[in-house]
Symmetry: D3
Subunit: 170 residues, 6 copies
């Protein structure tokens, strides 16, 4: 059986990881929809879809899950009324949706999919917003993301970009 | 003579109704441009264009105006410099524009249309923003919309959606 | 009960009319989806959505159908996989689809709608392509469209445009 | 080392397979860019990106290549001048590009990538165009695609769609 | 007085030049709208807007017209009904339009502009289509374009690209 | 040598002027990229690209720089990962980039361009945001823009528009 989990992964963090782990107990393969795929270099979306895919592939390798995680970029269409069809047309068939987002859950469940609503524990810390905040303020963000992700971000020099992402011309 | 009134109708409320009534005193047919037609399932635009069209058709039936109101979805183009031409190309010819929005009035009047600037009385209560606020907080919103609209929203289960419209993945 | 019939109506012709008449025997209201709404001034799509809506409104008046025909512009999205949801989100609820296009029939029927596949008789003559061909070559096109449509096109001077619609700068 | 091979895979055929096999001799992982990802249900692009991804995943399983092939949908941007950056931003880093398309080769090589131009043998038969032609005319197309692909297409009922993909409303 | 002349300039040729010369007899400054600005690397539009702007700037320098020609890229919007407003919003004010395209003439004249319809002499040879044909078949195209343009194209190596512009993956 | 300076010029102000002056000491011609070219009639972007181009042309005339400033509208693409290629494809070749925006500097420098990061002195006053604020509140904005720009804005009646730019339908 194939499942789907959609997130923005800006960056991949341990909150995502716990959902992925739980989902892999139930399905053979898990499609990871990388949302807002065409956004990058902004405070809310600093990393490109390709960079986020590297985080996911590196993590899958760290855990020996090669081939069971299928990361796929999904661009925003900004029209919720067509969003499920948009996603479905880009992905191989799946039977179960894992989601911690009430609107995503509703849209897929209205479209007839089995939805497993999950909840991230300690959402205050395990959230992309909080972690990006730490990244931009030289805080201690490393403990909230997988080891492979933190190493990848450092080695690749992606942190430098975060300081420049401001709105200069006003 | 045909007139035009443009609004977002999120939802149709009694402020719109008073403008429509006044306009129908002056024109034979009134095109109702349903703005931001492709937005829905967001806090600012919870209802689809089709749902808003149902509100308008239901209200026209309630009032016995069948055939005099012509509701037409108009999507945003996000470029005010081409907006009048965009609207004109989508609609049957009209001679007079009714508007309570200063920018809309200016754009149509600059393009040579007769514009009738109207004012909504008691704008504090008769505003989509205020009514959506009440809807999301279980307030008493029903008295600000036509009876047929309030019944339609309840029967159709569209209220459920409002609770889920939040931004889950951060 | 509400039905839907989608066409491009470039221009409205008697082939469309026969489908609309048959559909109105089965439903109370018929939504007329005006396809390729944002195309105009091309050989394939000479008339704007607003002009085509005028053809439909004029014809409804000629037949005394005011209020039973609901013409609505529907822009192309060029992605068939999301097309049904696109259309549905723009229109009031409908229960039955009338179509003389096999792909439209398949897409709506796959999405769970009741589809009534109709056939235009004498498709060789009652086709937009054939009629536009006649229009551009000063042929006798008037007998293939409703009287109100032929009068509207002549009075409005829309024929002049057809000669200029060529690709000049090569 | 990671490589990239881009195609439309309408459908996956043995010409593609021979390129993929050769590429896997040189790289550890091969990203498969599924081009024109958002096109489907047309004579030139009958299958959705998700369906084409299934063809690729099924084939990878048939060959025991799980985890070495990384299929990723890539939508068209219709601007060749930004195309390489578009592709790069969606994909994990890669070092080598495999291509049988001269323009693709030029664009990537101009952008500084190592490009390995390959050639499909017997291009007359091993081409998507030829195979789709056979599919639409009940010809013998099965011998030009992998066994897993031919089985998938038959089991999934995707062939039915091909007959309806015509342009009905003219 | 400022004038406007719109073309695609794929490439700039002596037919354009004769229109520009005639226009400069009537106006102080001439805006050159570079149409289809975002198309390039295709058989119909081989050169980028920037490359076409270089052809125009080089030619202006050759003729000592610096400052009187104002080349401005104008992207297609593919909706003729909004096209004039689109163009007007991107350009400084102009009073007169020079055009050898009947549709352009009609659209600007309908919008109230003074239009000067010009005609290219010997249109069979002085056409972009004919010249690109020669370019792709190693014909003698140089005598149909300004000296500065032919030198620029050769020096810049833009000819190489023409051979690769074919559709490889079918 | 040709340089590039990109800004929004809402409106052109003396902060821009000081950068342009410094740049013209180093290059022969300076392309002025007019960013967010398709935005206008909003609080953040009140003027059209064409109006901003007039400000720049008027200023060039005031300074006797005709032919050395090349103003070119550049629309937003909202994808930083393709932004440099987007800009490059629209402009004639340039060798040096002048920028007071850290993200612009980074993107062009990552793409291999020589970037000259400049700084606007007294950024608090010489900023579009501050000047628009003064414009909307009848403050003394004239001393922050070139004389030709202030005269153009007054003569053209563009100030009237600022009062209407509010969001009426809520």
């Amino acid at each position: 059986m194939r499942g789907l989990f959609i997130g923005r992964f800006q960056p991949l963090h341990l909150g995502h990881v716990s959902i992925i782990e739980a989902a892999l107990d139930e399905v053979d393969e898990l499609i990871i929809g990388i949302g807002s795929a065409e956004s990058s270099y902004t405070p809310k979306d600093p990393f490109t879809a390709g960079e986020r895919m590297e985080m996911l592939l590196g993590y899958a390798k760290e855990r020996g899950w090669g081939g069971r995680l299928l990361p796929v970029p999904v661009r925003d269409v900004n029209r919720y009324s067509i969003w499920v069809d948009h996603v479905v047309s880009l992905l191989p068939r799946f039977e179960k949706v894992f989601s911690n987002n009430p609107l995503t859950s509703r849209l897929f469940s209205d479209a007839g999919f089995e939805v497993c609503s999950t909840r991230i524990i300690d959402r205050e810390h395990f959230s992309g917003t909080a972690i990006r905040e730490l990244m931009m303020n030289n805080g201690e963000w490393q403990s909230y993301v997988p080891v492979s992700t933190s190493r990848l971000i450092k080695v690749s020099g992606w942190m430098d970009r975060l300081n420049d992402i401001t709105n200069g011309d006003r």
